[in-house]
């Protein structure tokens, strides 16, 4: 099989997964105790409006018909209206998703910036003092609550030093980037810790390989050995890990965006849960699911291209 066939096969494999997820999300709203029409309209709705809403949502029809309509709504991007904002859900998502995307990108950038040099030198000088410190730091980072780290950064850089805003979203591009620095840094810590471990271990493994010794004995400069052999090989597993982490950053965005009051989709999720805005919650869960599936697909495809040992 060639590469194109592999990609096609992976896309086909996703179809049943999407089907199962759509059923789960469809059932989710119906698993919440109470009448969905009342959930959509809120506590103060009249009986007439609930009846009308039941009709509109098609709740009087069979589950099969309801599910069909649900799928049709997703495909045609008609995701209903937000109770809180009184706007079509799709519009709401469109304006919010950009912020979360920027947050994820900045945080990815920070993660790479932090983890590559630290991981490389920790691996190169294995068991040195530096390696020990990096290892302990990585362990601490995965054991601490991210929202606490975020608040500490906020106290230090926002409140005490006043270098950066304590939260919220800016109007100009520069302000927006400034308001993403602290949340991005907070989010990148956990990812950096995982990447550092991975880079360190692959540098240790690869440095012991025969072909690296061979390259050195051929007289290739240390810099070329580092760039051509060690870093390149460490890159493969790191990129895969990083892509997988991006899915987890979405989960983290729910907490980080709440800490820094960033109006992205993570904060929208929390606000909608409290506002009982179930149309938005449902759309967000679907959106999260689709993004994660897409990331997983990309991870597999990129991995298969980066590592020639993966057979199609």
């Amino acid at each position: 099989m060639n590469g194109l066939n592999y990609i096609l096969k992976r896309i086909l494999q996703i179809i049943p997964v999407v089907f199962i997820i759509s059923i789960l999300i469809f059932l989710m709203l119906r698993a919440i105790p109470g009448d969905p029409a009342r959930l959509v309209l809120g506590e103060k709705a009249t009986i007439e409006s609930i009846d009308a809403m039941r009709e509109k949502l098609g709740l009087n029809e069979s589950y099969l018909v309801q599910y069909g309509k649900f799928v049709k709504g997703i495909v045609s991007l008609d995701l209903g209206t937000s109770l809180t904002y009184q706007r079509p859900v799709i519009e709401l998502l469109r304006s919010r998703v950009k912020i979360t995307l920027m947050l994820t990108l900045i945080s990815t950038f920070f993660s790479l910036l932090i983890s590559f040099p630290l991981g490389y030198y920790a691996g190169k000088y294995k068991d040195s003092m530096f390696d020990q410190i990096i290892k302990s730091g990585a362990l601490a980072a995965v054991s601490m609550p991210s929202f606490w780290i975020g608040l500490l950064l906020m106290i230090l850089f926002g409140v005490k030093l006043r270098w950066l805003p304590v939260g919220g979203w800016g109007d100009t591009f520069i302000d927006q980037i400034r308001s993403l620095i602290l949340p991005g840094l907070t989010m990148s810590l956990l990812t950096s810790a995982l990447l550092i471990r991975n880079i360190r271990n692959s540098v240790v493994d690869i440095s012991n390989m025969d072909y690296v010794d061979f390259a050195r004995s051929k007289g290739i400069s240390e810099r070329a050995v580092k760039n051509r052999h060690i870093l390149r090989n460490a890159l493969i597993s790191t990129v895969t890990l990083l892509l997988m982490r991006m899915a987890y950053m979405l989960g983290g965005s729910v907490i980080i965006e709440t800490v820094f009051s960033l109006p992205g989709i993570g904060k929208l999720m929390v606000d909608s849960i409290f506002g009982r805005d179930y149309a938005v919650v449902q759309a967000l869960v679907m959106l999260f699911a689709m993004i994660i599936l897409l990331i997983n697909l990309l991870t597999d495809i990129i991995y298969s291209f980066l590592d020639p040992r993966v057979k199609f």
Partner: protein, 280 residues
């Protein structure tokens, strides 16, 4: 002659200092959670209008919050709830997930296939997202945190144990037990379980951190433990509004959470090392 010289026993605290630090932290945390009344100088939910937002001092080690409650006492009492969440949210999935993995791996077939497919699909989603989605359906509250984490947490154990069972299934001693005519139940519980359970238990030691942090995150978002109950995430959430002038309300509960988390991580790492050397 050297051949017979007995290898000198190196005491464990010298070879594994990190593991010992982990044990000390975890034991201390457990002691605090059992006897907070002997450590906390004040009632954790007692309001004191004369001491509102007081900075840390000899009277109030960690200062007071917006209701004049002693932050140190609140943080100490919170250890009980957070540790409870960490431990109980881990134990139930550990037992249930291991059982499911044991049965699925041993019997195989259609049920195993369907179960693993569903687990694979669900496990591509971040833990936090799944827990939040379930919390949305169930509503807020401490009881629902448990249910949400239980519903998501067991899958990792099922996968882990199933993998080990598949390897073990063809081992000679299992084959022997089967030929001897032992019942499936006996083979599963007496022969399989003791051999696969250690890796699940080791995983659980680090899983406590994840469960504790997830529980605290939910309370931080306002979905979990409700005020005035002292819980680290909930205290942080309350302190957030006063971050400009009262940093101590957010700083100290987080510090305790971080230290406890590091303790359990060190313990988990140490146990993993033991398991690895035992396997060699």
């Amino acid at each position: 002659m050297m051949r017979h010289a007995k290898k000198r026993e190196i005491p464990i605290w010298a070879t594994k200092p990190a593991f010992i630090v982990g044990i000390i932290i975890v034991v201390t945390a457990i002691l605090i959670s059992f006897f907070p009344q002997f450590i906390a100088p004040y009632d954790p939910i007692e309001v004191n209008s004369k001491a509102i937002l007081v900075a840390p001092s000899a009277e109030h080690f960690f200062g007071t919050d917006n209701f004049g409650r002693d932050v140190f006492s609140r943080v100490i009492w919170a250890a009980r709830i957070d540790l409870q969440i960490g431990v109980f949210a881990t134990i139930v999935p550990l037992i249930f997930g291991s059982m499911m993995g044991l049965i699925a791996g041993y019997y195989g077939g259609v049920v195993d296939n369907i179960l693993m497919r569903i687990i694979d699909i669900l496990m591509t989603f971040p833990f936090t997202i799944l827990v939040i989605v379930i919390m949305t359906i169930l509503g807020q509250g401490m009881r629902n945190i448990y249910i949400a984490i239980w519903l998501v947490g067991w899958m990792a154990y099922a996968k882990l144990v199933r993998g080990e069972v598949l390897v073990l299934k063809n081992a000679e001693f299992i084959e022997a037990a089967r030929v001897t005519g032992f019942s499936d139940k006996r083979i599963l519980l007496r022969h399989m379980l003791p051999n696969v359970v250690s890796s699940a238990v080791v995983f659980a030691a680090s899983d406590v951190v994840l469960c504790m942090l997830t529980g605290a995150s939910m309370s931080f978002l306002g979905l979990g433990v409700q005020p005035p109950t002292p819980e680290w995430g909930a205290i942080l959430n309350e302190g957030r509004a006063y971050i400009m002038n009262a940093w101590w309300i957010t700083f100290f509960p987080g510090l305790f959470m971080a230290i406890t988390g590091i303790g359990f991580s060190l313990l988990g790492d140490g146990l993993t090392d033991f398991l690895r050397t035992k396997g060699k």
